[in-house]
Symmetry: C2
Subunit: 380 residues, 2 copies
């Protein structure tokens, strides 16, 4: 996104409020000196800084790493340098005396309903699919609607590829791409950089031009207001899955297929998602093979362990319908076990699928790579 491109070096905050101050602002305390955090060195080392003169302990919690202690100087500034890190985007929190905070010196955020974090970009070569390159860019369209199924106002995003022309005649296939528990509908675009990844894959000819629809993934929104306790309530979780599926099939897909130039056959519909969205992709996709021919599940979480009950009519007849069933998980992810058990069950049923195990934990670094490897397989 342009704002990322423009301001990656932005960390030199306002240094004074002189006559140029365009607005009344809080008079006290005085603006602290500009703090640069994070500071990314060209070799991939990253320095984080946080002023908190009275804290007893400040930890840096980087996505995919264990928290590490920062060091305090006599000015009350906590600092740590880590790395070198591989080029990527990483979420992080500063945990000050037990409270996870976003970095006040960094505008880049990972929006999230429960665990918002700051974000740092370690730039890499243009071959990395999440880097903004000099290629044609698609658009992201944000839709708002009233859901009769759930009984609320909700939203979804639609990525249209650069070649999409609403006044033309070319129809496109659609990937329905689902976020994880605690994400907002913006998760896959804002954090997962799905639009950037598709721009790059399409420009290189690696992926077919397609629409990507990213709906809000909660069928029972109270599952989030109750936090992880909500996700642990299996009755609520099952209702969340059921109502999500119903909202997707009876509200979102019909709206998309009415408004956009898209092909409406099952061979032109894919569904994939991460964590909770991975489980939703399997539950919705494998139980509706008349509607989806391509299914992906990244680090699925929340799958009912009674697979036979969750997929009552699934058997090897599915092989004739499934073009891709792609099941990925990081080997250091706590969910690797249930994913392996599910793959074993699929094998026992004679259902063809692709097993993907990669290094990594339950992180966006894994899921951006998953999408980058999954999207090229679609609609071939």
């Amino acid at each position: 996104m342009s704002k990322r491109v423009l301001f990656l070096l932005l960390a030199t905050a306002a240094s004074s409020f002189a006559q140029t101050q365009p607005a009344p602002r809080p008079a006290r305390p005085a603006m602290p000196p500009a703090i640069v955090s994070p500071e990314v060195a060209s070799d991939g080392h990253v320095t984080f800084r946080f002023r908190d003169p009275n804290a007893h302990e400040v930890l840096l919690a980087l996505e995919g790493s264990k928290p590490v202690a920062m060091q305090k100087d006599d000015q009350g500034m906590w600092t740590i340098t880590i790395g070198p890190l591989d080029p990527d985007f990483y979420g992080y929190s500063l945990i000050a005396d037990g409270v996870p905070l976003v970095d006040p010196s960094n505008w880049m955020m990972k929006p999230n309903l429960l665990f918002k974090q700051s974000e740092v970009h370690v730039p890499g070569p243009s071959s990395l699919p999440w880097e903004v390159n000099d290629v044609p860019h698609g658009e992201l369209q944000h839709h708002f609607y009233k859901s009769g199924v759930v009984g609320d106002k909700r939203d979804y995003y639609v990525y249209t590829p650069p070649s999409y022309d609403p006044r033309g005649t070319t129809k496109y296939p659609v990937l329905y791409l689902l976020h994880g528990f605690s994400d907002m509908a913006s998760g896959w675009s804002e954090v997962g950089r799905a639009n950037i990844i598709l721009d790059n894959l399409i420009a290189e000819g690696k992926a077919k031009p397609m629409l990507v629809v990213m709906p809000l993934g909660y069928g029972a929104p109270e599952i989030v207001t109750r936090g992880f306790a909500g996700f642990g309530d299996t009755v609520l979780r099952d209702r969340n899955f059921d109502k999500f599926r119903e909202a997707l099939l009876t509200e979102v897909i019909p709206q998309v297929e009415k408004e956009y130039l898209v092909s409406k056959d099952r061979g032109s519909r894919a569904i994939a998602g991460l964590s909770m969205g991975g489980a939703e992709s399997l539950l919705t996709g494998l139980n509706n093979l008349d509607k989806f021919a391509w299914i992906g599940a990244f680090s699925s979480g929340g799958l009912p362990e009674d697979f036979a009950a969750a997929f009552p009519s699934l058997d090897s007849n599915a092989n004739a319908k499934l073009r891709v069933l792609w099941i990925a998980c990081g080997t250091e992810d706590g969910l690797i076990g249930v994913n392996r058990r599910f793959r074993e069950w699929l094998k026992s049923k004679g259902i063809n699928h692709t097993d993907i195990e990669t290094p990594g934990m339950h992180t966006w670094m894994v899921w951006r790579r998953n999408l980058s490897n999954f999207a090229p397989l679609l609609f071939r």
Copy 2:
């Protein structure tokens, strides 16, 4: 936006990490007890809570108010109850020992390149134009492009009204709506709720259906990376204005008029903005009356004080071209002086305009009302 609607009561964060934890997470420290902040009572009182056991002072800085001290209990919890507040959206920071922080218990944010804040919604009646009502909703489309004028990748948002049909024949007028210094291109939609406001005004028949184009407002992006010192550098600021105008006129407007069904006559183009964007609206609009017939400036900031030099060819002949010139500012805004001087200068030149002075400081509460009152005047 749906996420606001869905989760306004969201503040009961995760209370425990049991077996249901879907991912490895930092092992220490233990998740603190759920903190509800902000808590909005039905009478408009709002309670803020923040755990920081070792801070010496924590202030609540609410948008439009002076910071006030929070009180600490023996558990390290800082608390304050304020109000009753008028129904509105308010930005706020928690200033802990001099460092402005976003509220870790609140997912609602005011994104900003220099001063990101948390946000609290005090709900009000459906007659308030920024409340999400049961009316048809338009779409927000996010565009990305490479600017030859500025030499970067950048973005703009386009609101299309509910009746807009890209495959139809109806053409619409366009309001170009500009954000302020330190905002991102998302400022008017994410914080200003421009799409919600237009949805409501159009549904009530108060505003004509129109597109609203919200571009990134920096012609010289380094003005932001340098913070307020950048905005105080008048050479840089003038270049920022010049290059913004050039990018708008030669890049954004042609792209919009190529892609969308819009009328291309001056009577179908309006330009308005807040603070820096107000100055940009005046500098771009009044110097290009062949392109814009409707101009609004809300709390303009950064206008060159040599008005005659900034508007060299402006005289009372403009009256025949200007359909609306609407200049608003809050009476407690530090910029009221320059806005009054500018209006006096317009009067001395015999240029008709509408003077709007309202209660309020340099805040989004003022600007949401400005937009709600300005948009109905357009394209009549």
